[in-house]
Symmetry: D2
Subunit: 289 residues, 4 copies
Amino acid sequence: MKSQIVTFLIKCPDQKGLVAKITSFFYKKGFNILSCQQYVNSVEDMYFMRIRLNAEGTNISKEQLEESFLELAKPLQFKWSVNYGDEKKNVAIMVSHTSHNLYDLLERSNEGRLNCNVKMVISNHNKLRHIAEMFNVPYYHLPVTKETKSEQEEQVKQLLDANEIDLVVMARYMQILSSDFINYYKDRIINIHHSFLPAFQGANPYKRAYERGVKLIGATAHYATEDLDEGPIIEQDVKPVTHESTTQTLKRIGADIEKLVLARAVKCHLNNQIIVSGNRAIVFPESGE
Amino acid sequence: MKSQIVTFLIKCPDQKGLVAKITSFFYKKGFNILSCQQYVNSVEDMYFMRIRLNAEGTNISKEQLEESFLELAKPLQFKWSVNYGDEKKNVAIMVSHTSHNLYDLLERSNEGRLNCNVKMVISNHNKLRHIAEMFNVPYYHLPVTKETKSEQEEQVKQLLDANEIDLVVMARYMQILSSDFINYYKDRIINIHHSFLPAFQGANPYKRAYERGVKLIGATAHYATEDLDEGPIIEQDVKPVTHESTTQTLKRIGADIEKLVLARAVKCHLNNQIIVSGNRAIVFPESGE
Amino acid sequence: MKSQIVTFLIKCPDQKGLVAKITSFFYKKGFNILSCQQYVNSVEDMYFMRIRLNAEGTNISKEQLEESFLELAKPLQFKWSVNYGDEKKNVAIMVSHTSHNLYDLLERSNEGRLNCNVKMVISNHNKLRHIAEMFNVPYYHLPVTKETKSEQEEQVKQLLDANEIDLVVMARYMQILSSDFINYYKDRIINIHHSFLPAFQGANPYKRAYERGVKLIGATAHYATEDLDEGPIIEQDVKPVTHESTTQTLKRIGADIEKLVLARAVKCHLNNQIIVSGNRAIVFPESGE
Amino acid sequence: MKSQIVTFLIKCPDQKGLVAKITSFFYKKGFNILSCQQYVNSVEDMYFMRIRLNAEGTNISKEQLEESFLELAKPLQFKWSVNYGDEKKNVAIMVSHTSHNLYDLLERSNEGRLNCNVKMVISNHNKLRHIAEMFNVPYYHLPVTKETKSEQEEQVKQLLDANEIDLVVMARYMQILSSDFINYYKDRIINIHHSFLPAFQGANPYKRAYERGVKLIGATAHYATEDLDEGPIIEQDVKPVTHESTTQTLKRIGADIEKLVLARAVKCHLNNQIIVSGNRAIVFPESGE
């Protein structure tokens, strides 16, 4: 392999000697270990590792590496994935009416602050086409009604698959996706919800926040699962508000939180920082990167 | 009146000329207006004011002031209260097992950072007696079972009334109070709940926060109402946490949030900064004080 | 006047009766007072007010209003300004190499989240032209060297004046402006500095933050004054960082703080929320708007 | 060794294979690695590790372990320390007039939230004696004048050494310690400064914060070094403030920040989470503890 950064994500039952065994394995293959992050869940006796390697100076092919690694992985019951950092991931953004997250993601991608190719924007409305066009990203308008829902999802699926999309970002796409769709892209759909979940699950969170008189509002980025707004949480943030805030003010303040929260979650995913375990997302911080 | 600070809290239907009429009223009586804060709820067409006056140099008694004010208040449909700042409010703290809020409130009161007399600590357990004793505050141990609940509440009530308690602070008192009790002290019981409400209402919020995998935890101080954990929110705050946090870690991190949130809410109440309106608490910030 | 929102900003020596006199003045002219915010600086015995009026139903012209107001203002020694909300303010953005603030301001302006006309982008480099063009905003490339500095500033000045610019936003413009230039646009130039001032005034704040090993980094928006990075602070924010952060990481984390801080400061200025007093900026929060 | 948690802190020049070599070393000795945290400073090519081991089931004495470890450490040029978690560290708190940090530390220690023995409080004043007495901690009043400074420091030193103090916490001790004193307890004195350093180094930070008109205030906990307020920063935090805040208000808001910041820094030190490198403190987060 060339001088490239290889990232392994590993999940397995906890047991003595894991870090020694894994790091020795890569050391003996000639890799320089750039960072090695672990997490032990002692409630469930599970072990999680994210290890980043510099392949410079190794004389091993991807196939050889993975074959060897399998021998280590099997007896220790690893579930694992590897990313060689040599190809940008392909991203599709889904939106409805709200523009702020779309602008933000396109700007970051355009200026090299998100390491991905935004291949398309898909919307059930035509309203945000001008934004995609500003950034020269194809915009697909696929309207949806109750009757055409499964048909429309099929169209979306075809677009995603034809373009080899690795990650779907629901940047305020206000439609509930079918279980079939969601399970097909398991752990590959990130949704932004405009509340600090589990508060205000479902519709109209800002209106309900106003009515409840909360003193802070927030946003949550999570992987989409069958259960609406209940998927593994990747990132959350809040801002203080006061009794002065109307539903409109909350929306405006919230927009800035939504932007940051979604962008950070997408960055963590693209950067291979996340392992999903049950309904929890292990999000390793960046380490020397 | 002497040189003292008088605070009026006013709530009424919104209408033209309110601020001019109210401030002129006090100006003509010879008061210096130290601060005058307003809030208009345009959804409900309601007007709220907190006005602080320096009585220095006025030649008017409390009775005369209030009699005059009534003439202004009636046609404009004011609901109002006045505080003359000449007597510290009496506070009772109710606790069960958890010590951090109790320490914090007693320390602040002891060092003059909370403007009140903490007259007593009431608990259904004997566990925290040593803390009350350190601060020379009487500690009443009133155990409670399902069978003795109404009887015990009656005892609490007698203690509170005999000591002319103005504010009851439930500093992690882990019993559900009866509606009768709560309504008797309407808008005078502040409770701390160890989550960012409305998330994790009810029991075991830290355990549920762990299970849900949230990336922030919080605390909420609110007036107690019949509906558990649904009363008007006075103050909330959160801190970020990670997948590393266990239920135990969350409890520890949460303790520091609970302390600050409860202390701030109690301070706002003691300082006459709050008007309750329906299920929302209008909390005016300090202004030049 | 039509149904429009009129905002007065007033500064004067503190004295009894100010709020009564001012609010009565507007009430008698038939205005509905939407909000009335005050601040008393008791160190300097100064009084500040921001009052927002709805002109609906008044029968008075701007000239009549101001003439009458002068009669009130003179004896009470007001320094005051009035904004009738009927014209958007004209804004010029100055930049050098860094794109994030420019994108952010143009996006907000484009989507109606900043109430202004961005009339032009001025830069000493050509690098960010593509961004201005995406948003159809004229981009003026005015290079500068030590020798041409005063000449270039003259060109900038001509552009600003020809376009009746109300506010200059230095969105990471990495040139020190002359005192003449700054004083000519006193309290009308907002600069973003990439540190929590007064820490790391001057050049390379992120590098110095790394070297100092701080555990949080920040950004500060302030009015430009003759003394570099010492003008009245409008808005500041910070984010936590760790020992892991390199200068590069700090820059990336800082970019998101800079964007929010500058956008909030510009919004406050455009919305007539700020009164400058000496080296301090009184920034009234939004109130029912 | 018994079932105890052993923590090694290691610092050395960066080189290939470190994590594999170190973790294999402990694995072969029979230790279970509870957590293993690393940091590579690529500017200075330095490697840092914090590794926590469970000694349960090992058949090795402390002496044997350290002897073996030396063989690993020498060729790799480790600077290292080890803590066996079997003895609480001894802490002395130094104060002058301000009570909030003292209360907070004593309360945490008393309730088992800080893993240490607070052996004494030392003060140049007698003012806070009542607090130490509430918590049954000896209070030494050692007044100091310019003339008696070196003599008083000698007394302090004798007290510290006689009581085998591991950590000195300057909880608002308003005297400048001599270089001799500080160097004698290098990396073992934690000071709280009441500003977000490097802003407002030196005296009267709240007054200067008011005058500068900052929109946030903060606190910094750092190791004391010869250069006043310039030692390695362990922990910082801030809170937003407004133009309304006077120097007095800032002090009050700041007190709560100071308490949390100092308590967290002390906890990190006691928990062996910190490696000092030059003027920077590497502060590893808790990991599964």
